[in-house]
């Protein structure tokens, strides 16, 4: 008998979906893969562009002033990781497993740091613990400039990220396990170590890696409060902006890329296991009131809230005070950004523009891409490539991406060179920089939809774009809105990638904070930082209303 393998004919839908997917693959190749290749090849070249092998690397590793930063970066990142995850775990425990009051208030407060640039806590710390700090004595003679300041800032900055992950891990607890432990007369402490912790272990590991990656790649905090304490991220900036040594900048970038990439891939492995835990059928755990415990947890949450709001209020106070500490009258002098170096109010409007474009274009692209890769058929090679490219940005520090863009787009023979210094390149870099989390959000939402919708639609002869418009988008609307707010907020706060890419007419608010702080205009920097915060807060609230309104209007079907 002849056995001929049946090759499925591709439908018009499949071809169109493939086309869309290839367009986005091309985007990711141009906006990510090629720039990364450019930075890699740059690190093997000298000033004149000749290939010199590992010479740059040899020079790097034989310069103790530079290699010392590796140790510093690791120290800071590991310290932050331990502290942030611990603080976040107890916080998540309080919010999930206690019956204390005001949980929702604390939840909101704990997420506030997402809305501000990572430069901001540093500025607040200067006011609190700097040379003329308000409560400098609390440090007992230690210097805030350096590792202490960086770690405090990074804990502030990473706390919400860790909290979100650990909350997810804690919220999927199975109450039956606790009932079993109870019926076996297990002590509360033993239950905690034998049930609670193991149940949350993947969440904890994942949170640890995320915090580590965020910290080691962050540039804002060490720049503002690091003093003479050099880390890899600030080294890249100094090599490029300070010394114009692009080749060495490329080398440091690749050194920084390594731990970030390793942390990222280990995290992906761990998260795959977390899925198995999630899919188990569990009975949700309802915490039982316990006066003493609830009170302790409330006290703890208050402490964390004081820390977060304290940083924020300090910045706002610093922004309003005329001339700290000599003239403490309040006013808006520091808001006259047009009088300072850093781009003035224009930079703020530029940031709004960037954030809006990023949110709109990014959301459309990410969701379309996720849809094509998730629901399309065939061409598994391209699909695999897409998945890889979509996950890659998470592993690439913003500074590395920014520098890679310089090498790629500023190269004289690149036809896309006209983008350099424009709003366009800022949007492209920001969308790319924050692609991964958005992509994962979209994929998760798409996976939650009945996978037979497309089968049914095909049997009803509906073209895919009709089902996409009529079913997929409305059903996934909450996730789509989440992606857009995520992109907006991050576009407002990000410094790292854009710091290399903005031009004379495209200065950004977050970069203005950096530059004004650099120039010693700390109060205006704080004022601008708070402008970013208020913008994000307002947009976040609007997003909340919008989501609710949209849900009410288009998601009637969700209500039983």
């Amino acid at each position: 008998m002849t056995m001929e393998i049946v090759k499925a004919k591709t439908s018009r839908d499949d071809k169109q979906m493939l086309g869309f997917m290839l367009i986005i693959v091309c985007y990711l190749v141009v906006a990510l893969a090629l720039p990364l290749y450019a930075i890699l090849s740059k690190s093997f070249k000298n000033h004149d562009g000749d290939f010199i092998g590992f010479a740059n690397y040899l020079e790097y590793f034989s310069t103790p002033a530079l290699t010392y930063s590796i140790q510093n970066s690791l120290t800071i990142s590991i310290l932050t990781m331990v502290i942030s995850v611990t603080v976040a775990f107890i916080l998540a425990y309080a919010l999930n497993r206690s019956c204390m009051r005001f949980k929702s208030v604390f939840k909101v407060i704990a997420l506030v740091p997402i809305l501000v640039p990572s430069l901001l806590p540093g500025i607040a710390l200067v006011y609190l613990f700097g040379q003329q700090g308000m409560i400098k004595s609390l440090l007992m003679g230690y210097e805030i400039y350096g590792p202490i300041g960086i770690v405090i800032s990074e804990v502030f900055f990473t706390l919400p990220h860790a909290l979100i992950i650990i909350t997810t891990a804690l919220s999927i607890a199975d109450s039956r396990l606790y009932e079993a432990a109870d019926s076996l007369k297990t002590s509360k402490i033993k239950t905690f170590f034998t049930v609670t912790l193991p149940g949350a272990r993947y969440g904890l590991i994942s949170a640890a890696f995320v915090v580590f990656t965020l910290t080691i790649t962050d540039f804002g905090a060490p720049k503002v409060i690091g003093g003479g304490y050099n880390v890899l991220a600030t080294d890249i900036y100094k090599q490029v902006v300070g010394q114009q040594n692009f080749e060495m900048g490329a080398v440091v970038s690749l050194v920084l890329l390594l731990p970030a990439a390793v942390a990222f891939f280990v995290d992906r492995l761990v998260q795959r296991k977390q899925v198995a835990v999630l899919s188990a059928k569990a009975v949700a755990l309802e915490p039982k009131p316990n006066k003493a415990f609830d009170l302790v947890m409330l006290g703890y949450c208050l402490l964390v809230a004081v820390f977060i709001l304290g940083i924020l209020f300090t910045c706002q106070y610093a922004a309003l005070v005329e001339f700290y500490p000599y003239n403490l009258t309040l006013g808006f002098t520091n808001y006259q950004f047009d009088l300072m170096d850093g781009g003035g109010w224009d930079s703020f409007y530029n940031s709004l523009e960037l954030a809006s474009w990023t949110a709109v274009i990014g959301t459309i692209m990410v969701f379309l891409g996720a849809y094509m890769v998730e629901k399309g058929k065939g061409f598994n090679m391209g699909r695999g490539l897409f998945q890889f490219l979509a996950m890659l940005p998470m592993a690439v520090p913003g500074l590395v991406l920014g520098l890679a863009y310089i090498f790629f787009f500023n190269s004289p023979n690149n036809p896309l060179g006209f983008l350099y210094h424009t709003m366009g390149i800022l949007v492209i870099s920001t969308v790319t920089h924050f692609y991964t989390v958005s992509h994962l959000t979209a994929i998760t939402a798409l996976k939650q939809m009945d996978r037979e919708f497309e089968s049914v639609a095909a049997s009803l002869k509906a073209p895919f774009h009709r089902t996409f418009r009529k079913i997929t988008v409305p059903v996934c609307l909450p996730a789509i809105l989440d992606i857009s707010i995520y992109l907006f907020v991050n576009a407002m706060t990000t410094v790292s990638a854009v710091v290399f890419l903005y031009g004379p007419h495209t200065n950004l608010a977050s970069v203005a904070v950096l530059n004004m702080d650099d120039a010693g205009d700390i109060a205006p920097a704080a004022a601008m930082g708070m402008m970013i915060f208020y913008t994000n807060a307002v947009v976040r609230i609007l997003h909340g209303f919008l989501t609710r309104g949209v849900l009410k209007k288009t998601q009637l079907w969700r209500i039983r």
């Binding site: 008998m1 056995m3 001929e4 393998i5 049946v6 090759k7 499925a8 004919k9 591709t10 439908s11 839908d13 499949d14 058929k377 009945d450 037979e452 919708f453 089968s455 049914v456 639609a457 095909a458 049997s459 009803l460 002869k461 509906a462 073209p463 009709r466 009529k470 079913i471 409305p474 059903v475 288009t554 998601q555 009637l556 079907w557 969700r558 209500i559 039983r560």
Partner: protein
């Protein structure tokens, strides 16, 4: 295999589906007549859903041909085939009302709005759900949702209706009710229908023909009666209904039409393929085919004295476990109706005589 016919509506030839090194379906041959209601029946993982998805083009087979209404559809994508489908999960579009769900396929065909509205009303009446058109799927019970899914599938008047375990997610009572409704609807419309199920009762009550599948291979194709009363293989005998399997030796003389099986010290008359003679076999009989009473035909050589070891109460009947010193360690089950047990005062520990009618015994090679 009796799956092949001529002039059939759906022809499947040499269909094999591989997932990597795993063979989910192996050389399946099947014909389905126009207007026929066919059930794919088998344990979970046997390949029945894979076969359905191949017919729909959702997971295209590795080898083999499928022909529908005289047209080779082997490599066509689902959108270019002619079928309606209903899934276990209903897969109703959650953000569309019932009416919009049903109209979804009609709108793709570009009918006039008023025509669509008329057809939707018709279909809602047909599935017994008038006045529900503005509700959303989540506001309906599972049974109602499945009705809507059915209406949506038949709205476009497909040549082939595919049902993938449509009743499995429903409560037992709803399931029985909907079973009848689907069957009635199918007969009224005369649409060729294939239903996948693991529930033999569903298959036996609904199907014109049943295709029993096991480990990717068709074990038997036949009417419910054929499948039940003359199971072709040991698997089918075991999978459908309850069956006693008694290890036996095939003895007798073929030429004299005197075939028997020996179980322990007992020899039972029965009929089987002569090639089994002299071999170790399994003799099978359904518990309800065991006849109890003292008025056995004197010519019946299959009467034995048995002791009632246990009776399991199952409502309308009792299932007795019977043993006999002549049978050795072998025990078998027999079903006695509640009436019979009352009339004959049957109880545990009694010794009774039963007949294992020769026409009820089927013999399988080991």
């Amino acid at each position: 295999m009796s799956g092949q016919r001529t002039n059939s509506y759906l022809k499947i030839r040499g269909l094999t589906k591989k997932f990597g090194r795993f063979t989910a379906l192996s050389d399946v041959e099947l014909d389905v007549d126009e207007g026929e209601f066919v059930c794919f029946l088998g344990p979970s993982g046997c390949g029945k859903t894979t076969l359905l998805r191949a017919i729909a083009g959702l997971d295209i087979q590795t080898y083999g041909q499928i022909e529908q209404a005289g047209k080779d559809i082997s490599d066509l994508p689902p959108s270019e085939r002619d079928f309606g489908i209903v899934f276990q999960s209903y897969a109703l579009f959650p953000n569309l009302t019932i009416a919009k769900n049903i109209a979804y396929g009609l709108e793709n065909e570009g009918h006039r709005k008023s025509d669509i509205l008329k057809r939707v009303t018709e279909l809602l009446d047909l599935v017994g759900m008038p006045d529900q058109s503005d509700k959303y799927p989540s506001q309906l019970s599972g049974g109602q949702q499945q009705r809507v899914a059915l209406a949506r599938a038949i709205a476009i008047s497909p040549g082939l209706l595919l049902l993938d375990e449509p009743l499995s997610a429903l409560d037992a009572k709803v399931r029985v009710k909907l079973r009848g409704e689907i069957k009635d609807l199918q007969e009224k419309l005369g649409v060729t229908t294939i239903m996948v199920t693991h529930d033999q009762e569903e298959a036996l009550t609904m199907a014109d023909r049943i295709v029993v599948i096991n480990e990717g291979v068709i074990e038997q194709v036949g009417t419910p009666e054929e499948i039940y009363h003359t199971p072709a293989t040991q698997f089918v005998a075991d999978f459908i209904g309850t069956m006693n399997f008694l290890p036996a030796n095939a003895i007798g003389k073929a030429a004299m039409n005197d075939l028997k099986v020996r179980i322990g010290d007992i020899e039972l008359d029965c009929d089987y393929d002569e090639q089994l003679l002299g071999k170790q076999v399994l003799a099978s009989i359904r518990p309800e085919d065991v006849v109890v009473g003292n008025n056995h035909d004197p010519a019946d050589r299959n009467v034995i004295e048995v002791k009632i070891d246990n009776i399991e109460f199952l409502g309308a009947f009792g299932r007795a476990t019977l043993s006999s010193t002549q049978l050795g360690a072998v025990r078998f089950m027999a079903d006695f109706s509640a009436n019979l047990m009352r009339a004959e005062k049957i109880s545990r520990g009694m010794t009774i005589s039963v007949s294992l009618p020769s026409q009820s015994i089927r013999v399988y090679a080991i």
